[in-house]
Symmetry: C2
Amino acid sequence: MTAPHTVLGRAVSLLRTFSFEEPVLTLSELSRRTGLHKATAHRLCRELVEHRLLDRVPGGYRLSRGLFELGMRASTERTLTEVALPFLQDLYERTHETVHLGVREGSDVVYLLKIGGHRQARSPSRTGGRMPLHATAIGKMLLAHADPGDVASLLTGPLERVTAHTVTAPGILHRQLERALDEGVAFEHEESAPGLTCVAAPVTVGEDVVAAVSAAGPLGRFWPARHAVVVRAVAAAIGAALARRSTP
Amino acid sequence: MTAPHTVLGRAVSLLRTFSFEEPVLTLSELSRRTGLHKATAHRLCRELVEHRLLDRVPGGYRLSRGLFELGMRASTERTLTEVALPFLQDLYERTHETVHLGVREGSDVVYLLKIGGHRQARSPSRTGGRMPLHATAIGKMLLAHADPGDVASLLTGPLERVTAHTVTAPGILHRQLERALDEGVAFEHEESAPGLTCVAAPVTVGEDVVAAVSAAGPLGRFWPARHAVVVRAVAAAIGAALARRSTP
DNA sequence: GCTCGTGTCTCGCTGAGTGAAACATCGGCC
DNA sequence: GGCCGATGTTTCACTCAGCGAGACACGAGC
């Protein structure tokens, strides 16, 4: 990572160095990855701890609960999440599989919500996490409704291969998107995680697709096509509820 | 708010000015509340937008999705949340009422998770939000297991009255805590919100109470005592699952 | 018209913040 | 034991990032 020449930038790049996979990082590690001088990283970390954005723990530093609280105050999609939750609960009760709510951010899905029960399949998605659009059902659904120009420029760039089954051929992907647009649901078969299948439907408010909903489960037990109708209905219901709320 | 004399501190106090109730703030409002000079606030906000911690929106600024993503990476309680979620789903399915998972932070509960369906009661709790310990069922349960010294010092200070029914008399509260310790559940009757009742049980790992679970519903429909057994069982199951995970 | 509140920009001054360097620990390893 | 490389911590003189007074532009509302 290239270190910016402003305090704020440095602090943010420190915070951004942490990830789901590496929640705890040592000072030297932080200094190395951000390119900051050890003394600088030390001073900044100490101050971030003071402000309760970082925690000092035995193995180094980690993002703190204060940051979690701050992040949850981000209103961007909070009304969306709050309106959608009851419907996602319904979806969960009907399927007892993992249920997602996601929005588009550039070439990624950002998951606003992920709920699941005891039998949930191993999947790389997490609330607040990201996945490439083209590798997930939700992503394809969002992409299908995206601006054609955006789609074109995304498909020309190289598409990351997440698993052996990830669709990286622009032609195939393009056909899948058209079909998704047609059917109102998108599918995914082991394209983001081995053994995982998924079906997604769009949440629309007026003309705009603001998010997408999905149900995911393990290959063998879970047959995406069988749940297409439910997922589509739930997504539609969320859209209706949102429209009702925004224009009372 | 008193403005600190460090860039980082100023930035953090800007971010902390936003709340659930006021998700969008104008620049002047921010400058006024933080005590920062308008020019300073402006510069900092611009930079925060650049780093995707703030969004520029028609009415002013608001916390952005980037901050949400960052906050969700905070690992502090993520394993707790992830382990607990399936059990909380069970609890929801059995009660179809609002379900909480909370931890203690000073004299507050911080809600790590709140799930609910269509019929959920109006309640001030939110995922990532706070409530005074003494005004909520979860809070009382956590307080009952807290260090006696902590409890004493909390009870001597003035106890905020959230609703007309909030217990602010140290004597009564103390008796409630003893009873909660005895029964393994704590109750709340319109003490955090009018018309809302709640029952909570502690999540214990070994000797430590790491969190508490609750089910809440509207007065009249929801009888906390009837759900005491379920809530206690769910909380115990979460504790067992956590213990299993931490010592494999 | 005037006025009040808002967001934006410039620019000279200064102290917050930098980073080299030295120091303190802690292991691991022969 | 002594050597080594890694980590975390502190000091200190230099300098540039950041500050804030002030000026400007815009829009809304009597």
